[in-house]
C-alpha cells in the first residue's frame, strides 16, 4: 500500500511540475504582445510605463529564464504581485481559497448524500418505473447548465419567496450556490452509483450471500453497498475537479467571494500573475484531493491495502 501511495504522490508532483511549465507559457500563448493587450483599454499609458510593467513581469527575458525565475520565486512561496493594486498574489488567493473550498465541499456533500442513495435505490429497482423515472430526472439534472439552474434557484428562493439572501458571505448565503453545484453533480453520482451497484448485484457473491440465508437488507448493506462504493470513491476525485471548475461559474452567479470569482475578474483585467497563481492553486488542490481519495480507496479495498510492501 505504501508503494501504491508513493506512486500516486510521484504522479501528483509530476502533474504540478507540468502545470508550472504551462503557467509560464500562458502569457505567450495569447497572440500579440501581452502588455499591449493588457493596456489596450486604458488610453493614457505611455510606452515607458508599459516597458516597466514588461520588466516587472520578467517578459524582457528569454522563456527558459522566465521559467527559472518563476520556479525560484515559487519555491520561496512568492507568486508575484497583482498588477492592479500590487498585493502579493499568494495572499489574495489564500484569503479567498477557503470560501471556494467550503463551497466545493458543501456541494460535494449534497451531491453524495442525494446521488448515492438515489442510484442505489434505482439499481435495486432496476427496470421498474422507479428506476426509469429517477434516471430520466438524473439525465435532466446533468444536462442542466449551472448558470441556468443557479438563476432559477435564485429567482425562486431568494427573489420570489425571500427565504434566502441573494448574495453575500454568510452561512445562509452558502445554501443556494452549494445546492446549484451539488444538484447537478448529484445526478452524475446517481448514475455512477446505479451502474456500479447493478454490476455488483449481478456478482456471484451476492447469490452466495442470499444462499446463506442472510436477510435482504443485510445483503444489500454489507455485501452490495460496500463493494459497489469502491469505484465511486475513485470517481469522487475526478468529480471534485469538475466541481472546482463549476465553482467558478456558480461563484459569479451568487457573488460568492471565492477564487473563481477572483479569477474571472483577473481574466477580464488581464492580471496575469493572479491567473497564473489561480491555475497553479487549482492544480495543487485537485492533485491533493485525488491523492487523498486514492488513499481512502486503497484503505477500503483490501486487494490494495494488503498487497506486499
Amino acid at each position: 500500500m505504501l508503494s501504491f501511495l508513493a506512486g500516486r504522490l510521484t504522479m501528483g508532483f509530476l502533474t504540478i511540475f507540468v502545470t508550472t511549465i504551462l503557467v509560464t507559457l500562458l502569457i505567450h500563448l495569447v497572440p500579440g504582445d501581452p502588455v499591449q493587450i493588457m493596456y489596450a483599454q486604458s488610453q493614457g499609458t505611455t510606452p515607458e510605463q508599459m516597458e516597466e510593467v514588461r520588466k516587472s513581469l520578467g517578459l524582457d527575458k528569454s522563456i527558459p529564464v522566465q521559467y527559472a525565475m518563476f520556479i525560484g520565486r515559487l519555491l520561496e512561496g512568492d507568486l508575484g504581485n497583482t498588477i492592479r493594486g500590487g498585493q502579493p498574489v499568494l495572499d489574495v488567493i489564500l484569503q479567498r481559497l477557503p470560501n471556494t473550498l467550503v463551497l466545493a465541499v458543501a456541494a460535494m456533500a449534497i451531491a453524495i448524500l442525494i446521488g448515492v442513495p438515489i442510484g442505489f435505490f434505482a439499481a435495486y429497482k432496476q427496470g421498474t418505473i422507479w428506476d426509469v423515472t429517477l434516471m430520466i430526472t438524473a439525465i435532466a439534472g446533468i444536462s442542466m447548465p449551472h448558470f441556468w439552474l443557479g438563476l432559477i434557484l435564485l429567482f425562486y428562493f431568494a427573489v420570489d419567496l425571500g427565504w434566502l439572501p441573494v448574495s453575500g458571505g454568510g452561512p445562509l448565503n452558502l445554501v443556494l450556490p452549494a445546492l446549484t453545484l451539488g444538484l447537478s453533480n448529484a445526478a452524475i453520482f446517481a448514475r455512477l452509483t446505479r451502474s456500479s451497484m447493478i454490476d455488483v448485484l449481478s456478482q456471484d457473491f451476492v447469490q452466495t450471500a442470499i444462499a446463506k440465508g442472510l436477510p435482504k437488507k443485510l445483503v444489500l448493506r454489507r455485501h452490495v453497498l460496500r463493494a459497489g462504493l469502491i469505484p465511486i470513491i475513485t470517481m469522487m476525485g475526478l468529480q471534485f475537479a469538475f466541481m472546482m471548475g463549476g465553482a467558478i461559474v456558480v461563484e459569479n452567479i451568487f457573488s460568492w467571494n471565492g477564487v473563481g470569482r477572483m479569477a474571472v475578474e483577473a481574466i477580464f483585467q488581464r492580471d496575469y500573475p493572479i491567473i497564473q497563481g489561480f491555475i497553479l492553486t487549482f492544480a495543487v488542490v485537485v492533485v491533493f484531493v485525488s491523492i487523498m481519495l486514492d488513499a481512502v480507496y486503497a484503505f477500503i479495498d483490501p486487494r490494495i491495502r494488503r498487497s506486499q510492501t
Partner: protein
C-alpha cells in the same frame, strides 16, 4: 429404504424473455435421499443450473415455477421470501461454480463465514469464530486460526472453493446443492475437492445434489444420476447401471462422445519426410513482472523457462498443463502474439522472431491460431463472411469474386453452408462459431495451426465433432498442429506426441501412447491419476500425491523419442 430428503415433482420453470415466458425446465421429477449423491448431468441449455436456482429461490425476477419440491415435508416452492430466507443455508446450502467470484472481495473470510451463523441465531461471534476455525481445519486449510482475518484474494482458487465448502457446511445443512463446483479448477485440485465433498457426505449423512456436465466427475462421485436434456429428465439410474447399460439414446450418445484416457491410441503416422521439422522452438524464456507501485516491479513469474521443442511436418504435438503452466504463453510466443525475453522460433527454417514489416506479415500467414472462446474471438459486428475473407484479402490479393468463392469453399470445408457468410456471429451456436474460427484460421492456407484449448468451452458432444473436424482437416490439408489443452483424454484422441508442462518447463515429452499409458515423470503420473475417469467400475479414490513444484533439470531420453526431465 433410504429416507427421501428432497422430493421434486413435476417441476417446471419459465424465465421471462422479451416480455414472454420461455420454459427452460418442464415436468422434472427426482428425489435426493440422505447420505446420497445425486448427480444431475447435462449439456448447456439442459436446465440443470436453473433447477438448482429454483430450489434455492435464486431465480431471476419474473421467473415462474410450477410443481412442487418437498424438502423435509414442506413445499419450498410455495414458501414466501421470508420463510425461505430462514431455511436457506441451514436447510439447503449451495456451492457455486466460480470460487473466484463467489466470495465477496472486500469482506474478510471470517466475517463471511460467521455472519450467517449469527443471523440464524446459531452462535454468538466468539462461538462462530471457533466453529469457523474448526471447519476450515476440517476442509484442509492450513493454519486456520490466522485465516479469519484474510481476504479472498489471499487464497488460491482451490483454497477458495474449500472456504466456500466450509462456509456452507458451517450452517449444518441437510442438503447441499453444488453447481459445477470443480469446473473452474485444475484437475489435480478438482480431485481434492471431489474427495472432500464425498468424504463430507459419508461423514455427516447429508444429501448432495451435484450439478455437472462432466461424465468423469459423475462416475467418480455420484450414487445416482439424472440425465437432463432441453429441460427434461431423459434417464435416471444408479451410477453403475447408467454407465454399464444406458437406456436412452441421448445418454448413449453422451457417453460415446466422452473422450477416454484408456482408449486405443493410433500410433504416429510414419512418413517419408518425417525428419524435416517445420517448427523448431529453442530455449524460449518469458517472464511476467507484476507491476506494483510506480517504478519498482515485484513478483516476477517465469511463464516460460527454457522451452525447446520441434514439430515435424504433418504432426500434431499437444502441450498439456494446468493453469499457470505456461502452455498458453508458449502458444502466444510461437505465434508472436507476445514478445519473448530470449530464445528463437524457426518456421520452415526461417527465424520467425527476427522478421519485421512485410516479411513478418507474409510469414504470419504460415502460422495461424484458433482461440479457446469462440464467443470473443469473432468480432460481433463483422458478418462471418467478412471475418473469413479478411486474411484472404490481406495475404492473397485476388479478385473479389474469387475471394467469395474461397469463403464458400472454406465454410463447406468446416461443415457449414456457404450462405451462412451473410450472418453475424451471434446467430451461431458455440460449436458453429468454433468452426467459423477454424475456417478463418485456414483462410490464408497456413502450414501450422496453433489451437489453444479449442474445445474446452464446448459441450462434450460438440467437442467430439470439432475434434473430428480438426483430425479430418489435418489429414486433408497436411497441417502441422500445436494443440494446447488441459485435458489428457482429449489429447489422446488428437495428438501424435505430447509435451507435459508445469511451471514454464517441459517435464515430459513423448509419443502419446507412451505418455498416457506409461508416464515416467511423477507430475504426469499425478495428473493422469487426478483426471476423472468416465467409468464407475474403474474410479479409484486412491490419488497420487502431487510432487512439489521445483526447477526441473534437463530432459533425458529414456526411450527413443520419450524425454523426461530429471
Amino acid at each position: 429404504m433410504p429416507a427421501s430428503l428432497l422430493s421434486v415433482e413435476k417441476l417446471s420453470i419459465a424465465l421471462p424473455l422479451n416480455s414472454a415466458l420461455k420454459t427452460v425446465v418442464s415436468d422434472l421429477s427426482f428425489d435426493v435421499n440422505t447420505a446420497e449423491i445425486l448427480a444431475i448431468v447435462g449439456e448447456s441449455g439442459s436446465g440443470k443450473s436453473m433447477t438448482a436456482k429454483a430450489l434455492m429461490g435464486l431465480l431471476p425476477d419474473g421467473a415462474k415455477t410450477s410443481g412442487s419440491a418437498q424438502f423435509q415435508g414442506v413445499n419450498i416452492l410455495a414458501q414466501t421470501d421470508k420463510e425461505r430466507q430462514l431455511t436457506r443455508g441451514t436447510g439447503i446450502g449451495m456451492i457455486f461454480q466460480e470460487p473466484m467470484s463467489a466470495l465477496n472481495p472486500v469482506l474478510t473470510i471470517g466475517l463471511q463465514m460467521t455472519e450467517a451463523l449469527i443471523v440464524h441465531g446459531l452462535a454468538n461471534q466468539r462461538e462462530a469464530d471457533r466453529k469457523a476455525v474448526e471447519m476450515l481445519d476440517r476442509v484442509g486449510i492450513p493454519s486456520p486460526q490466522s485465516r479469519l482475518g484474510q481476504y479472498p484474494h489471499e487464497f488460491s482458487g482451490g483454497m477458495r472453493q474449500r472456504v466456500m465448502i466450509a462456509m456452507t457446511m458451517l450452517l449444518e445443512p441437510d442438503l447441499i446443492i453444488a453447481d459445477e463446483p470443480t469446473t473452474a479448477l485444475d484437475v489435480t485440485v478438482q480431485a481434492q475437492i471431489l474427495d472432500l465433498l464425498t468424504g463430507l457426505v459419508e461423514e455427516t449423512n447429508i444429501g448432495l445434489l451435484l450439478i455437472t456436465h462432466d461424465m468423469g466427475v459423475v462416475a467418480e462421485t455420484a450414487d445416482r444420476v439424472l440425465v437432463m436434456k432441453h429441460g427434461k429428465g431423459v434417464e435416471e439410474a444408479p451410477v453403475r447401471e447408467l454407465f454399464a447399460n444406458p437406456k436412452a439414446a441421448y445418454t448413449k450418445a453422451l457417453l460415446a462422445a466422452v473422450p477416454r484416457l484408456d482408449a486405443d491410441i493410433a500410433g504416429p503416422q510414419e512418413r517419408a519426410d518425417a525428419d524435416a521439422p517445420i517448427l523448431e522452438v529453442g530455449n524460449l524464456k518469458k517472464s511476467f513482472s507484476k507491476k506494483n507501485g510506480f517504478w519498482r516491479s515485484h513478483a516476477t513469474t517465469r511463464a516460460l523457462n527454457n522451452v525447446s521443442l520441434s514439430v515435424r511436418q504433418g504432426e500434431t504435438l499437444a502441450i498439456v498443463g494446468e493453469s499457470g503452466s505456461g502452455k498458453s504463453t508458449l502458444a502466444r510466443a510461437i505465434t508472436r502474439l507476445l514478445t519473448v525475453d530470449s530464445g528463437n522460433v524457426m518456421v520452415n527454417g526461417q527465424d520467425f522472431l527476427s522478421l519485421k514489416g512485410e516479411a513478418l506479415r507474409e510469414a504470419r500467414s504460415d502460422i495461424q491460431m484458433i482461440f479457446q472462446d469462440p464467443y470473443s474471438s469473432l468480432d460481433p459486428r463483422f458478418r462471418i463472411g467478412r471475418a473469413i475473407e479478411e486474411p484472404i484479402r490481406i495475404h492473397k490479393k485476388i479478385g473479389s469474386s474469387q475471394t467469395r468463392q474461397q469463403v464458400s469453399a472454406l465454410l463447406e470445408q468446416v461443415g457449414l453452408s456457404p450462405d451462412m457468410a451473410e450472418r453475424y456471429p451471434h446467430e451461431f451456436s458455440g460449436g458453429q462459431r468454433q468452426r467459423i474460427a477454424i475456417s478463418r484460421a485456414l483462410a490464408c492456407s497456413p502450414k501450422i495451426l496453433v489451437a489453444d484449448e479449442p474445445t474446452s468451452a464446448l459441450d462434450v458432444s460438440i467437442q467430439a465433432q470439432v475434434l473430428d473436424l480438426l483430425l479430418r482437416l489435418k489429414k486433408e490439408l497436411d497441417l502441422t498442429m500445436l494443440f494446447i489443452s488441459h485435458d489428457l483424454a482429449v489429447v489422446g484422441k488428437i495428438s501424435d506426441r505430447v509435451a507435459v508442462m508445469r511451471g514454464g518447463q517441459i517435464l515430459e515429452l513423448g509419443p502419446t501412447a507412451q505418455i498416457l499409458h506409461h508416464p515416467q515423470h511423477p507430475y504426469t503420473i499425478a495428473l493422469l491419476s487426478a483426471a476423472p475417469k468416465p467409468d464407475p467400475e474403474k474410479s479409484q479414490k486412491l490419488r497420487v500425491e502431487l510432487p512439489l513444484l521445483k526447477d526441473a533439470g534437463p530432459l533425458q531420453e529414456l526411450q527413443p523419442g520419450h524425454w523426461v526431465a530429471t
